[in-house]
């Protein structure tokens, strides 16, 4: 009897409110640097404002709507709602319904979010700093030096997917290299066109 009660109490506590934040959520991971390189591109452009406006044009080309912007910090946030249906998934759902009379869910809608951030580019010659703190701890790091010209653009995408019943099924970051490659190709063209004053 006591065993059952204690078991129920433990299950109750687990099922209550607490789920833990994954330990790696706020730590740098081995793929952090690779992702940074994938999501960033340096442009030799004098004005950060021009770069932001060219970026905004590209996001508009891609059908994004502006959510937030802050020029002094070089931040643009945009999003769009799109269809998320996948032929294979629907075929599977139909098959399941026909064979087993089971209604399975399939993805229907998605919201795609993008944040784009510009910052002054750094030179390749970082200053090597080697200092000792008051507590006697030795600290070594490379202090990057801001380059006189050029800015780095970093864009990140993520998406939220809902099924046909309106329930959220997927929330994830988008890390497909081709998407970033194509985005930066478009941005290069946009900067070029803007420099040529082509509308």
């Amino acid at each position: 009897m006591k065993k059952i009660i204690s078991c129920l109490a433990i299950i109750g506590m687990l099922g209550g409110c607490a789920t833990q934040i994954p330990p790696e959520a706020l730590q740098f991971q081995p793929d952090t640097l690779a992702n940074r390189q994938l999501q960033s591109r340096k442009y030799d452009i004098k004005s950060e404002k021009e770069l932001l406006s060219a970026s905004n044009n590209v996001l508009q080309d891609m059908g994004f709507n502006l959510d937030e912007s802050n020029m002094p910090l070089g931040v643009i946030v945009a999003s769009k709602n799109r269809d998320a249906t996948d032929g294979g998934q629907i075929a599977g759902a139909i098959l399941m319904a026909a064979l087993f009379r089971v209604q399975t869910s399939y993805d229907k809608d998605q919201k795609i979010r993008a944040s784009l951030v510009t910052k002054p580019a750094a030179t390749n010659n970082a200053i090597q700093v080697d200092v000792t703190t008051k507590t006697g701890k030795q600290v070594k790091f490379n202090q990057p030096v801001e380059a006189s010209n050029g800015f780095v653009v970093r864009v990140t995408f993520q998406r939220l997917v809902w099924n046909q019943r309106g329930a959220l099924t997927k929330i994830e970051g988008i890390n497909d290299p081709e998407i970033y490659q194509e985005f930066f190709d478009k941005l290069s063209k946009s900067i070029f066109l803007q420099a040529q004053n082509v509308e």
Partner: protein, 149 residues
């Protein structure tokens, strides 16, 4: 006799099950005010969430914060230089939302950075995730994060 005993046991079992399911949750007032999160006082929580950096450059501190959030897989939601605050969301099977605010310290020689996070629909009150965040942040600030008294 046996039957009566069984009913008593069954009702006791039911009572324990329901109370244990309910005790994990809070009232609306507590949820709005986050007043009794693990019995933590707001002073404790503030010290967990706050660090001081030896710099007076607010825009640079904020740009470093944004870069760190991007490195950690966040997508920026909002950024405001005047207010000194940045909000960002990380989606990775879970939703982690952070707001980081940057303001000059009273000495005029440092910047105070405060972060708060919510994991899905819960506040993050555990010190470890904040330690991780500030370790990541100081790597891109190139400054040491000091505890604020």
């Amino acid at each position: 006799m046996l039957n009566k005993n069984f009913i008593v046991r069954a009702s006791l079992l039911l009572a324990v099950a329901t109370t244990s399911l309910l005790t994990g949750c809070q009232t609306m007032k507590e949820r709005v005010l986050d007043s009794s999160a693990d019995g933590q006082t707001s002073v404790e929580l503030r010290s967990i969430q706050t660090r001081s950096f030896d710099t007076t450059d607010k825009p640079k501190s904020m740009r470093s914060t944004i870069a760190t959030l991007q490195d950690l897989g966040f997508v920026i939601d909002k950024a405001d230089l005047d207010l000194g605050s940045v909000s960002a969301t990380k989606l990775s099977g879970y939703a982690l939302r952070m707001t980081v605010s940057v303001r000059p310290g009273s000495s005029g020689k440092n910047m105070i950075v405060r972060a708060n996070a919510q994991y899905n629909n819960m506040p993050v009150t555990d010190p470890k995730p904040y330690q991780d965040f500030f370790v990541s942040l100081q790597k891109s600030m190139f400054l040491t994060a000091n505890n604020v008294d």
